[in-house]
């Protein structure tokens, strides 16, 4: 999850034109054929690597978003080099960190993702300890309890819809733990659906109210932490706090949900791999990274070039943007053997699912803990998963189409 301060996903279905199988005429036949032919390709069906040809030919695919042409960098090594060179590939461009501008969806810069050093360094250092709490033993145990109990609840032998009845509440309840707020708050976040960031002021109004409440009655939580926080002896502005809160809620929601849903589908189709996973605790770690690599739920983050430059051997004019295409990097044949296969003990696995470098995913410890805890709980509790039906979640852009997860997955778990 992304370079990415959080698993900032394609946040708004209207903007990203995510369409379900029934609307996706162009790919409908392939998907339905795969489904009807015994479900062999149900897990991430044959829209597997939209960028393969361009990656191997030129290393770049020019994409178009609202009339703006954005070259996507496709090779893993080229993306890593671009990530390192923040002077020429800047994040300091509010609302433009994703290919579609978000200026109609929020009123402030997201922090620290839409910043460059040294400003970025200060803000990142300020918030990082809070986001690293998922590496603490007590936190890990608490997450394990949560996910084990949620798995127990769906082992009924009856049909359950995984995306909305399991993955969404799991992400929200886990976020309540990260932010140290009552779990009841997660009820409202669930109502927002897959994306916290939608048109209107819902998220901003909510976080503004939380900061105001924490000001009146300080507690040991995320909002009070930011109210108290200072940089160079100066308290954060309201807009800065809102910018941090905004990316905290908006990033890591649909992306985590898509990975969780995809894992359930995968094990429904590959029960032998669930047995394999139980053999060695180390496979939990490698499988977590492999699912992040394989699903790659976030398609791209962009950078803006203050000066004319080159990327992957191509000229880029000043003031234009380039995209860093994570799923393409994560299918790069020059790095990964058999990139189209899920190999649960893949090692090494230098994927970019959480980005890389100074903007690597701030929420990665939380996402990793959720996925690892889920895998352990599945190993400990689940005997079989029967896939009843599903609807893939398709990102259908002018320049590419790819599956990012599922809109709906119905299973029976025993």
């Amino acid at each position: 999850m992304l370079s990415i301060e959080l698993l900032t996903g394609p946040k708004v279905s209207r903007v990203w034109k995510l369409v379900s199988i029934s609307l996706c005429n162009r790919f409908r036949t392939n998907i339905l054929d795969s489904y009807l032919l015994g479900g062999l390709f149900t897990f991430m069906p044959d829209i597997k690597d939209s960028f393969q040809e361009a990656r191997n030919n030129s290393g770049i695919q020019v994409t178009e978003f609202n009339g703006e042409k954005i070259p996507f960098v496709l090779g893993l090594k080229d993306i890593r080099k671009t990530l390192k060179d923040w002077q020429n590939f800047s994040s300091d461009h509010p609302f433009k960190i994703v290919p579609h501008s978000e200026d109609e969806l929020r009123s402030m810069r997201q922090i620290p993702i839409e910043m460059d050093p040294p400003e970025h360094t200060d803000f990142r250092a300020l918030v990082e300890p809070f986001f690293n709490r998922p590496t603490e033993p007590d936190y890990m145990e608490d997450m394990s309890r949560l996910i084990n109990s949620m798995i127990t609840d769906i082992i009924t032998g009856r049909e359950v819809e995984v995306v909305n009845e399991f993955a969404l509440p799991l992400q929200c309840r886990a976020l309540a733990r990260l932010l140290k707020v009552p779990e009841s708050e997660a009820d409202q976040w669930m109502e927002w659906g897959m994306h916290a960031l939608t048109e209107g002021s819902g998220l901003e109004q909510y976080t503004a109210e939380q900061f105001a409440r924490a000001e009146k009655q300080p507690e040991d939580n995320f909002f009070s932490m930011l109210n108290k926080a200072e940089l160079n002896g100066v308290k954060l502005t309201f807009e800065e706090k809102q910018g941090i809160a905004n990316v905290t809620f908006a990033g890591g929601k649909d992306t985590v949900i898509n990975v969780v849903s995809s894992i359930i589908v995968y094990f429904a189709e590959h029960p032998e791999d669930l047995i394999f996973l139980k053999e060695d605790e180390r496979y939990i770690m490698t499988a977590c990274e492999e699912f992040v690599r394989y699903v790659s739920p976030l398609t791209a983050i962009t950078r803006t070039c203050p000066h004319a430059t080159q990327v992957a051997g191509h000229n880029v004019p000043a003031a234009s943007r380039v995209g860093l295409c994570w799923p393409s990097a994560n299918r790069d044949e020059s790095v990964f053997e058999e990139p189209e296969k899920v190999i649960l003990d893949r090692m090494p696995n230098p994927h970019l699912g959480f980005g890389f470098g100074i903007h690597n995913c701030l929420g990665a410890p939380q996402a990793r803990l959720i996925i690892r805890s889920l895998l352990r709980a599945l190993c400990e509790q689940v005997k079989s998963i029967e896939l009843i039906s599903f609807e893939p979640r398709i990102e259908n852009e002018e320049s590419f189409t790819r599956q990012v997860g599922y809109d709906r997955v119905v299973v029976k778990i025993s």
Partner: protein
């Protein structure tokens, strides 16, 4: 059993006895500052960089291609650089000394 000495960035020495697993896991078990191992040891995150003491380089071997791809774009790396998650402890590495060197 194998012993490891980690020298952290501020010069502190952390000794680990009975070291098993890879060097990143040993460092995490002993709370060595500067070694995160966020990805669990699959060469993805680059948060477990160490420099192997010259006396031990021959036994650990040099960085793999996957490691070298990372080191090529990072400052502060050299021919002694390894990702500690990629160095498996064994009796032949008993006494090894590494410097912790976060990117």
């Amino acid at each position: 059993m194998a012993k490891v000495t980690f020298i952290t960035e501020d010069g502190n020495k952390v000794m680990a006895n009975d070291a098993v697993g890879n060097l990143m896991e040993v460092a995490r078990e002993n709370d060595v500052e500067g070694i995160l191992g966020a990805c669990g040891g699959c060469c993805s995150c680059g948060t477990c960089h160490v420099r192997v003491h010259p006396d031990w380089l021959e036994k650990t071997g040099k960085a793999s291609e996957a490691e070298q791809d990372l080191f090529d774009i990072e400052e502060g790396t050299d021919e002694r650089s390894r990702l500690s998650c990629q160095v498996e402890m064994s009796d032949s590495l008993d006494g090894i000394v590494v410097e912790v060197a976060p990117f």
